[in-house]
């Protein structure tokens, strides 16, 4: 194996079901239901998925949901804003822990 991530592996995702078909089928059914048009549109859900893909830094998901966003009618400007939302939340999540740092420092300091 020359790299941990290979684009062709995305097509093998369903092979996960070989070792436990029942759980795979349940996951698939749930996954499909989540992304179906509901209170949110399919396009909005794809943009959320793209942002989450960047937050969890999954190259398979970034590949799949970039294509999905385009196929739902989104444009690169909208997709970039979604990535910035992920970035802001990730950055903010780090920064807000500064409060914890300050609490500890305050306790330890004179």
């Amino acid at each position: 194996m020359d790299t941990y991530y290979r684009p062709a592996d995305l097509q093998k995702f369903a092979e996960i079901g070989r070792a436990n078909e029942e759980l795979w089928n349940k996951f698939q059914a749930y996954y499909s239901a989540v992304f179906a048009e509901g209170a949110l549109t399919e396009r909005e859900k794809a943009l959320i998925a793209l942002a989450v893909a960047h937050a969890v830094q999954c190259p398979y998901c970034i590949d799949a949901y970039t294509q999905s966003c385009l196929e739902k009618g989104s444009n690169v400007e909208e997709m970039t804003e979604a990535v910035h939302v992920a970035c802001a939340i990730r950055g903010g999540a780090s920064l807000v822990h500064g409060v914890q740092m300050r609490n500890v420092a305050e306790k330890l300091s004179m």
Binding site: E37, E42, R43, Q67, L70, E71, N75
Partner: protein
């Protein structure tokens, strides 16, 4: 503006080279196999309700995805004699709709004559319009002409923003398209009760499939109205066919294999059952008959005993003809399907 494949002396200008690439066995399963699996073999026409006439390859644009390889340097044009034969076929076959395409069909000197005659005979007439041609000086009165004859306009607009539209259709095309749409709206086109129908066509700007038609139509309606106050009737989604200049783009960008796999994996039997070749007959600028405009560009005329030329038009033999298919046909059967009237299923 880009150049046509012919002007670039590209090997892909030859339909035989396109068919060679599409026929390479290691890309996707043969389309015929999928049709058989869907229980649709042999794929046959079920009638002729649309005569789609391609009056020539001359165009004022050179769009990156054009399946015709149309452009300003193309000179193929339908003659008055062949146009007359098309009118006779409409009558003889009792075909309700004449669908005129190109190139930019309005640039053919026979265009207005063909429209006037077909309308006088009571046929519904569709003009597949690139919008910017309506601003070309000799055509300045075209919108009024089309409105006067109540011609349905099917106009290309791949996106509601300039960057995407211009990337596919050329620099400045979006702004000129808006100007043409404003003219059409001012005449009543696109307004619900005017009787003047303006339908838009969405093509993906790249190597991906179109959105669900109803969803992108709602998005276009909202954005075109909000940004520019433009209205339209329906929006049709049409998949880019892996032929001609779009095939050239796919190969040059390294997307060919992935795109073909995407089309084949999204094969939809319901869409396959409703493909437009089953109810459309396509006529080339020289009168040759085809199952669709894509087969026309691949030099694949009607096959297996059906007449090959409009002068030999025989509705009984053509209405149930066997359709000629190759792997580009995956473009019409992927996802919701694709036709000149938008998605299928």
């Amino acid at each position: 503006m880009g150049l046509t494949l012919i002007a670039r002396a590209s090997p892909l200008a030859a339909p035989s080279e396109q068919l060679r690439i599409l026929g390479q066995g290691n890309t996707v399963p043969p389309f015929e196999e999928k049709i058989a699996e869907a229980g649709l073999a042999p794929l046959c026409a079920t009638g002729i309700s649309v005569l789609q006439v391609n009056v020539g390859k001359l165009c004022n644009q050179t769009c990156a995805h054009c399946h015709v390889d149309a452009g300003p340097d193309r000179r193929e044009q339908m003659s008055r004699e062949t146009a007359e034969l098309c009118l006779r076929a409409l009558e003889k076959g009792g075909i309700p709709t004449l669908d005129i395409t190109g190139g930019a069909p309005e640039l053919n000197p026979q265009f207005r004559w063909l429209v006037e005659r077909a309308r006088a005979l009571g046929h519904h007439v569709i003009d597949r319009c690139n919008l910017t041609v309506l601003l070309v000086t000799p055509q300045a009165d075209l919108p009024e002409f089309l409105a006067r004859h109540e011609v349905e306009i099917v106009a290309s607009l791949p996106y509601y923003r300039a960057a995407q539209t211009d990337a596919q259709r050329g620099a400045g095309v979006f702004e000129r398209s808006l100007a043409a749409l404003r003219k059409l709206n001012a005449l009543g086109y696109g307004h619900p009760d005017s009787g003047l129908t303006l339908n838009l066509v969405y093509n993906p700007v790249g190597a991906f499939l179109a959105p669900r038609q109803e969803a992108i139509e709602a998005q276009f309606r909202r954005e075109l109205d909000r940004r520019w106050g433009i209205v339209f009737n329906r929006l049709y989604t049409i998949t880019n066919m892996p032929i001609s200049r779009f095939l050239d783009y796919l190969l040059a960008s390294g997307n060919y294999q992935g795109y073909m796999e995407r089309l084949a994996s999204a094969f939809n039997p319901a869409a396959a059952a409703g493909v437009m070749c089953r109810y459309t007959l396509s006529v080339g600028w020289d009168g040759t008959l085809y199952d669709c405009d894509f087969n026309q560009m691949l030099d694949l005329p009607t096959g297996l005993g059906a007449p090959h030329h409009i002068r030999d038009f025989d509705p009984a033999r053509l209405a149930e003809r066997r359709i000629v298919t190759r792997n580009h046909c995956y473009g019409c059967t992927a996802g919701g399907g694709s036709s000149c009237a938008g998605s299928i299923s």
